[in-house]
């Protein structure tokens, strides 16, 4: 189904807001009532979801989807690089703590 650009944008908005609300679920499931607990799963999920949102915002809101290949390649590489550094730092940090 070919969406108009306007509809497509609205769908993208619904998707990123839904992902944002998923954070509430993560938050609720990790903590013991009022006590906050550390959780690798929650943290990794949090970072992963954030990067997914970043890519959606770039592709759909910033029109990278319609951009020349070099920009699509560079922005994807950027998200990948951010992922490698963020996941890497967190996991390595936890391992050596």
């Amino acid at each position: 189904m070919h969406l108009s650009a306007e509809r497509r944008l609205s769908v993208a908005w619904v998707v990123v807001v839904t992902i944002t609300l998923i954070y509430l679920v993560i938050d609720g499931s990790v903590d013991d009532s009022d006590v906050m607990r550390a959780s690798t799963v929650a943290s990794v999920a949090a970072i992963g979801l954030a990067l997914i949102k970043v890519r959606i915002v770039m592709r759909e809101f910033m029109d990278v989807r319609y951009a020349p290949r070099i920009l699509r390649t560079v922005t994807d590489a950027l998200v990948l690089t951010m992922g490698v550094f963020l996941f890497g730092t967190y996991l390595v940090g936890r391992a050596i703590a």
């Binding site: 070099i70 920009l71 390649t73 560079v74």
Partner: protein
């Protein structure tokens, strides 16, 4: 026609001289501050008197020789400043931009560059200085170096705005945006002396280890771009005959070369 080209080349010789002096200045600055005087990375903030005495003792000859060199050759910084100011004058923007930049940097250079050299040299000059006085000189030196960042920041924002609205193609717009990146890292430095420790202190992970490499990247970029500008400059007042370097063109060719 040949006479005109000869005149152009002759006038450009002055620009090239200024450029080589700029390179020499930043080279000297790096070697002195990082290797000789070892004033960078900076000492920890808020040291007690005994610790500052040890810091100075550890760097006795480095400070004297290194900053002695700065006292002799530090005037080179004025040439670097003049070259950048000329680049702004060559733009299609009001001369006010060039003059504001020149004044701001010229004034800020004294507390922000010369002062640390004076204070630190004072700190090691006399062997019988009291520890409390040494501590005072240590604080004065680093505070003047760090605290003047606000003035340099405003100056670089003026350069940035001039680059973004320039229609002569003196410097590429991506460098204007890189200036914004640099300015936003500098914002955290001016008040950093408030922190006695931690990532935002002037020797901290963010305060020093992120901000200085970004500044280094920015400096290397403008040195290379000034070289490219001098090559393209026709010493006139209108748009330059050739456009500035296009990063995306280079990126595209690099990616194609890799076969992505």
């Amino acid at each position: 026609m040949t006479q005109e080209r000869g005149k152009l080349r002759g006038a450009k010789r002055e620009l090239w001289l200024a450029w080589y002096v700029t390179v020499a200045f930043y080279g000297l600055y790096s070697v002195v501050f990082f290797a000789l005087a070892r004033a960078q990375p900076p000492g920890r903030p808020w040291l007690d008197p005994g610790q500052t005495v040890a810091w100075f003792a550890d760097r006795h000859w480095g400070l004297l020789i290194g900053f002695g060199l700065i006292f002799v050759l530090g005037g080179f910084s004025a040439v670097a400043l003049a070259l950048i100011t000329y680049s702004i004058r060559r733009m299609s923007v009001s001369p006010a931009y060039a003059y504001s930049y020149l004044i701001l940097y010229a004034i800020a250079a004294i507390p922000g560059f010369m002062f640390i050299c004076v204070a630190m040299t004072c700190g090691v000059m006399r062997p019988d200085l009291s520890p409390v006085t040494t501590q005072w000189l240590y604080d004065l030196g680093f505070l003047s170096f760090v605290g003047t960042m606000g003035v340099f920041l405003v100056g670089s924002l003026i350069w940035m705005v001039a680059i973004l609205i320039d229609e002569n193609g003196v410097l590429p717009r991506w460098f204007g945006y890189l200036s914004l990146v640099n300015a936003l890292t500098e914002v955290v430095i001016a008040p950093s002396w408030i922190f006695q420790r931690g990532v935002l202190a002037y020797n901290g992970a963010i305060g020093f280890w992120v901000n200085v490499p970004v500044f280094g990247l920015y400096t290397v970029a403008f040195i290379l771009l000034l070289r490219d500008f001098i090559r393209r400059d026709d010493l006139g007042t209108g748009p330059l005959p050739m456009p500035p370097p296009d990063v995306w063109g280079h990126a595209k060719r690099a990616v194609e070369a890799v076969g992505a």
